[in-house]
Point group: C2
Chain length 444, copies 2
């Protein structure tokens, strides 16, 4: 599957705010707009890119060569010297590079679009014989200023009108298309009448009943035309990087707020997710050692460190998702180091309890509690592998055996200088959780 | 998918050895022959059974009613009063109960056949329009006495001859068929000529070029006609219940030999696999407590108990596979209790080392070693979930992190009264194993 990306325009409205570089090179959470468009399409299964450049084409071309090497992609740069006429002329410029019947994705370099929308376009497009398909937002934010947006009217599965000027409309054009080369004659017909915009060409397809749509169904997209749009895009991306259902209580109400804030900077700075994982792990190790000291200030510091590590533990995944750096290894590494980190913390706290009380009891209790930091996760993984589905995330039990809660309990414990009691409490919660998993596995 | 099972015969040759009950009710590793035939077909996806009875039909019918309730199956009992004429008459007896075009499996109640063979029959049969399909063993044991076996000659994908009397032949009839109702006119044609055997009917199909085959390709089957056959069947079933590739060194060379021997009795006695899991778990718990005693005899006993528990840990899965009692819960329960059992053992050994040396060092080392009993398995599960494939089982590392080896090291340690050193050694092996998994995950 190929994707055509239009990146020839000047971006006049955002220009005063972004300095000298062309608009597609504007950075947003660690990636340029065009980089994000390319990676989003790659995630949807696209392997080859045709990027149309015009304005500042030399800078664009050399940047695209860099992306090609960095991500090991195939990017063909297509120059459109008539780019000032309109974006339809840029779309037309790729026609010599596509086979007669070859479908392709058509994307705008200045729109951020969830990979899920592109996947849906491709899936629906495969059942299309001809014509084109547009992703349409039917549930747009009614508060939003839609003056500058391209609007559409629909009937059944077809578009019946498109344009910025529509006063009554059913949805917004997201700028993400699945096209057959039928697009090109339509663009030429529109150009003959003096309209060189993409919308002009699409209007021709609409007139022929050849223009279909899919709804975005809550998946995100954002047209980036102004400085405000850029901020909005950032907010949208940050709010879509984690799902509430997967999170424990502490994540949901505390950690995620902090980690999203941190992640936006970490992504901007280009910090690699695995480095965040390592940092979070090291903070826990330091915390574990600090717990062995008897002075309250060290204990408190240890508590703060592990709570901070717990927040950072969310950032690695968030930054990976924000910057398309998710990998099975990253996930594996994060999960396995978490378990080792927890054990070091439990050992540190147990050691300090033993110093205070001596005897074997602190060790036995502390070890059993520490094992509780591994077993719920272990039992859930075993369930997923045996039953070929994740263990149902239902009820309180699932929330009680999450790491965010355990580390928060230890944090509160260290604030109260009762970290050993907190360890035992967190361990007990976890073992009760495994019993809950046992009952739920028995039922399934 | 329906299966027709022929269970009308008298079984004259085995009769003197099995007492009064009809032959299909002969017990073999905890299941009767007919029970095994039914469960094997169920595992291949069959949901409805037609069982033809004749000899001692009352006993057979009431037994089949029992099986129907026990396994919640649909079993239609078909009486064939002409069973003494030959097994072809029994196959003919089901024809009123099948739709005109309905394919079915045709099985003998006195043949044990691997579910894999039945799955292959169904898969190949789905591409068949008409005619019948026989599973043929092309690599039979040439030492074996084949005088009583039904032999076949093949050409391409068809059978060209069938019969006990063939002097030159390519393979053996396993008694497992996939049939279309074309079988019935063939049986009638054979009966008209006075041959009421199933082989007679099949011969008619062979003559019409309507008889196809699939090879068994190493999957097991056994025709049970004599007391010796019954012993052979037992040996075959026991040798197919575990795969060498999955096993560690100690399992392969020691535990499996013992566990298979035990499993054959446990299956005979009808012991439930989960009960074996619980017993193995309790033995480990007792072992863990015995390790806390200082006298050598207790330590030795503890070592023997956990090595025995390690052998039993193989039996639950073996008995489950032998008696068609595998379940996701059983697997989950076995795996999770193993981890808890290991921790109790590690705690017991560590406690005893602390009694001898005091201080925190035994506890810290013992706990770290004990964690090593969980983490390799944890890391492998996480790999399987992240990469959607099992972590490659290659090389020494995979063998070094298996439970059979850890428990054997502890057993040897306790024989030498050096159980704490053994614990640390086994723990070190395991953590090195996790490092190996890290490297292998990094590469993938």
């Amino acid at each position: 599957m190929k994707a055509v990306i239009l990146a020839a325009g000047e971006g006049r409205r955002i220009k005063p705010h972004i300095g000298n570089a062309p608009k597609p090179l504007t950075k947003l959470l660690g990636l340029t707009l065009i980089e994000r468009a390319i990676l989003s399409a790659r995630e949807a299964g696209v392997t080859e890119f045709l990027v149309v450049v015009g304005y500042k084409k030399k800078i664009m071309t050399s940047y695209l060569r860099k992306l090609e090497r960095r991500y090991r992609l195939t990017i063909r740069v297509v120059e459109n010297n008539d780019w000032t006429l309109g974006n339809g002329s840029s779309a037309l410029a790729v026609s010599p590079y596509l086979k007669e019947d070859e479908p392709f994705l058509l994307l705008m370099s200045d729109h951020i679009v969830a990979p899920g929308i592109l996947k849906k376009l491709i899936a629906r497009g495969k059942r299309l014989r001809n014509g084109c398909l547009l992703a349409v937002d039917l549930n747009w934010d009614k508060e939003k200023d839609t003056e500058e947006a391209t609007k559409v009217r629909i009937e059944g599965e077809r578009l019946v009108a498109i344009g910025k000027e529509l006063s009554s409309f059913d949805g917004l054009d997201t700028g993400a298309f699945f096209c057959f080369p039928t697009l090109f004659p339509a663009l030429r017909a529109s150009a003959k009448e003096g309209d060189y915009t993409l919308t002009g060409g699409i209007r021709k397809l609409v007139e022929r009943g050849n223009m279909f749509f899919i709804p975005t169904e809550g998946l995100f997209w954002q047209d980036v035309d102004t400085k405000e749009d850029l901020k909005k895009a950032k907010r949208i991306l940050l709010s879509h990087i984690s799902s509430k259902d997967e999170d424990g209580f502490v994540s949901q109400y505390l950690n995620r707020r902090l980690s999203r804030f941190l992640s936006s900077y970490l992504a901007d700075w280009g910090i690699l997710p695995n480095l965040i994982t390592v940092t979070s792990f090291l903070l826990c190790i330091i915390g574990g050692f600090l717990f062995t000291r008897s002075s309250y200030s060290y204990i408190l510091l240890a508590g703060i460190l592990i709570q901070f590590a717990s927040v950072l533990d969310g950032c690695d995944g968030e930054v990976a998702r924000l910057t398309f750096k998710c990998s099975p290894f990253g996930g594996w590494f994060d999960t396995v180091t978490d378990r080792y980190a927890d054990i070091v913390i439990a050992l540190g706290i147990t050691y300090s309890a033993w110093q205070a009380a001596s005897g074997s009891v602190p060790w036995i209790l502390g070890t059993i509690a520490g094992i509780g930091f591994i077993m719920p996760s272990y039992a859930k993984k075993e369930f997923a592998l045996r039953y070929h589905k994740p263990q149902p995330n239902r009820g309180l039990i699932a929330k009680l055996i999450k790491r965010d809660l355990r580390l928060f309990v230890l944090f509160v414990g260290s604030v109260l200088n009762r970290q050993f009691e907190a360890l035992l409490f967190a361990g007990a919660l976890s073992h009760i959780g495994v019993m809950g998993l046992f009952i739920s596995a028995r039922k399934d």
